[in-house]
Symmetry: C4
Subunit: 293 residues, 4 copies
């Protein structure tokens, strides 16, 4: 895309911070609503929908500036296959985690009354509002199952993100893509939320986990069995994302005709589309504006 030097790393990091903050304001917010209202103001389907819509709006906010990864597993997977600069992976990941952390603090603050009424002690009973647990803290799921669940869930996420943003494939135009990407997370929440609460995003899990730890949740880093668990939703998604992206390239990407992207010589395929289509989106708008002028 064109840019008069205004698309700096600072801008990209602010966009990743802001987009992830939007994502978590909805994601952690909806769990807070469902848990504190004890089901009166929503259920697991509300959680699946609001998380997905949170992704949609986080992507709408940041896509043009940073590509809207909003997830270290996305940044690492894209970098692994040369679709994103490694030097940006750590800054992006820190900005994403910071955005999630700040958003979780806002939820913690506004929902303090409500949380206090259902779990004054800030125990594992409401820990799930902020971070994930094996079997959502309720079902007895082994740590290894939770780990492989997160590997698979994040693999599905990255496979589908590439599938719907690869311009050589059947990718939606930029201005509707955030809606479709959000639906991926809606569906993962409905089908893959049992074993480990579908973190599928280290920033989504660690940022809010830290925020809860610093605001009264002393056992935030442990699971319901008292074992350290915080590392699972960090390590497993990073592995799963790479596997899912790799599977996309092996199973779908290599069969797609390259000549559909004449202007793409030497360009980064998966990273490009989203920006490409944003550019085209604005270009299209400019074209369309003419007759109106």
């Amino acid at each position: 895309m064109d840019s008069l030097g205004r698309r700096t790393l600072v801008g990209e990091l602010v966009a990743e911070f802001t987009g992830t903050m939007i994502l978590i304001l909805f994601g952690v917010g909806v769990v807070a609503q469902v848990v504190t209202s004890e089901g009166g103001l929503g259920d697991h389907d509300s959680i699946a929908w609001a998380w997905g819509l949170g992704v949609t709006f986080g992507v709408y906010a940041a896509a043009r500036i940073s590509g809207a990864h909003l997830n270290p597993a996305v940044s690492v997977a894209l970098a692994t296959f040369g679709d994103f600069e490694w030097r940006k992976v750590l800054p992006y990941s820190l900005a994403q985690t910071a955005g999630a952390f700040v958003a979780a603090l806002l939820v913690r603050w506004i929902y303090a009354d409500a949380i206090g009424t259902v779990d004054a002690g800030h125990t594992i009973a409401t820990q799930g509002i902020f971070s994930t647990l094996p079997g959502n803290g309720a079902m007895d799921i082994s740590t290894s199952t939770a780990f492989f669940d997160q590997v698979l869930g994040t693999a599905i996420l990255l496979f589908l993100i590439l599938a719907v943003t690869d311009a050589r494939n059947n990718a939606p135009v930029a201005w509707i893509a955030p809606f479709i990407v959000g639906l991926i997370v809606v569906a993962i929440g409905m089908a893959w939320g049992t074993n480990a609460g579908y973190a599928i995003n280290p920033a989504r899990d660690f940022g809010p986990r830290l925020a809860s730890f610093l605001t009264g949740y002393d056992t935030a880093f442990e699971d319901q069995r008292g074992a350290l668990y915080f590392w699972v939703p960090i390590v497993a998604p990073l592995i799963g994302g790479v596997l899912g992206a790799g599977f996309y390239k092996v199973a779908i990407g290599r069969f797609l005709p390259a000549e559909d992207e004449p202007a793409e010589e030497g360009r980064i395929p998966e990273q490009a589309p989203r920006e490409e289509r944003v550019a085209e989106n604005v270009a299209a708008r400019a074209e369309h504006r003419e007759p109106g002028a």
Copy 2:
């Protein structure tokens, strides 16, 4: 957009009145259905979806003529940043409130039998059909928490409205934008409806509140604790909207390349897009029609 003098303030005010009426016919209507059927004909998710779809259809109806603010918090926030004329803010706000008032009277009339069967005394038990209460009248939420919840909720609303209508960003084309804008309200209802019933719109709350007060709800201006509450969903959203719009400009807007809008010199950035895209939408239609002609 072009207009042969037909896009007058009268037309704009009628559009704001009508669009907000549509919004409230669905919004207050769905709460009436869920409350009077005691959950048999819907739950909180239905409320979130129907409110959001009400926004979608109110915007479809009014967007072309008035920009479809349908919310004084939107008009004030846009005016604060020079994106809307201050002189129109009061008329717009009054038209919006009047539309909400009339819609609420229609719901009150058609649902009179149903309300009578569950709350013959027209008490706080069904007040929530028309206007918001701290903790939805059920949970013990402090007024200050409700106030800050409304500031934050409306900040999220305005941030996202600008994010999805800024032509320099990844804005959907005009003919699908109302659907995306409606989804913002669906998600806010799912994640930010606990503490104060997500009024996030002074007209949405005061119009129906007044309608209920004039039709038998004597305590319409109070909360479940008997304290005056009606001012919270008016003042807090007006403040939150300005904060959210300002945050968008600081975190996202200033990093977006200006040159993507060559024809926009001296134009109002955020206000423009929706009208721009409507113009382009019709232009696009005209273009496409040619081959068919």
Copy 3:
């Protein structure tokens, strides 16, 4: 749109028959599922969604050929304002009712086992699967309230159908419009289904009512109080549709610039768009195909 004489009245009537059949296969089907599974396989939200999606797919099937009214209230309202030929109103209405009748017979046949297990006597307990009742047969709603509810509900339907198909307004392109139109019915089901089960369509109600009467539901034409009721969901929607369409023209239509449709001189405004946009849709496809050729 162009047509080499193939777009005959026969084709239009078959399209209205088929489109309404699709609508009812989903609409009556989902109520049959929810009622016979006693909530195990869905709830009122499923009913709202499946009815709306039934409309979406019925419109996708018939739009190109007949304009996809699928509802006598639509045909009458369009004809009232000169947007549809009066001579076609009766044939369209009969085709719509016949399609609804046949679809209801299919549901009656396939769901016979299931209905038999929950209501062997085919009483008013499962009558609601096929046709509407005041207060859905459960709540005590007066006939007059049900009547006015149907007038208002259908007024909202027609107002919004015109709002989202008026090419001078912010109308979606033809290939996504059926989805948006379906969402209107989803929202009406969530907000206006309490008092009279949102028939808002004489064909939707009478066709299945007749089918149930002929297959064991002896009291199909009565309400839970034993009074003749079948006329309410026929008469009220026809009145409401005209009122809603008229309100659109008074409140929105007259403020929309006419010059946006240079090619529309003397054309029927509201009827045109859908066909126009279908034409443009195919034209656009043809254009786009060229580079691929």
Copy 4:
């Protein structure tokens, strides 16, 4: 579409395998979540939505390469009307079934802990996670009713797939079509899931059924009455798909103007659109890119 020999049968089969795998990862996954959480993490609506979204994403992944049938009933119906090569029907069907089989094994593996806690014996109580049963194993539905339910359900599916992909009709553009196609399955799940669990796809049912049989479900091929049942969701959908596709051609297809496809001489009508529109989709992207270049 163009292809430099890269669109080989191997690529097509891998795409069908992968797309069906994605479909089943969501479809069988969501039933596993709802069943093992005993409703705590979803209900029948979640199942309808996640199955539909699974179709959406399976189609997004495979559409460009194989046309994304993901269902032998689709391949057979298209071939029956000359819209797909008979020689490819068996390979496609086997690839689809293999993809469903592998996806079911992944669900079986990751959900092993959860299934073990609710049904250690791997009985018919959790068989429904993997394959369909008459009346979902709960209601007493006759085999013949289940058979005709599957004929009708699959007829609706194929009728609508053709309706929304026929370029002469009101077909969505390629980049949004997978969303609309997914909604067809959402609606079928809500309205036609009572009698036989809406397999409407032999690969969806047999692949996971075999996977469950090989992993501890000894009675996987029987229904709750101990009778062999696995053949019903194979035979009935194949018949229903042909009937539905035929009905589309008789009721809608023959009334659509052929001249809308000048470039389509001698082309396969229903098969073409999806590929056509993908080509046009990429073409459109190329065009749009120019101004940005």
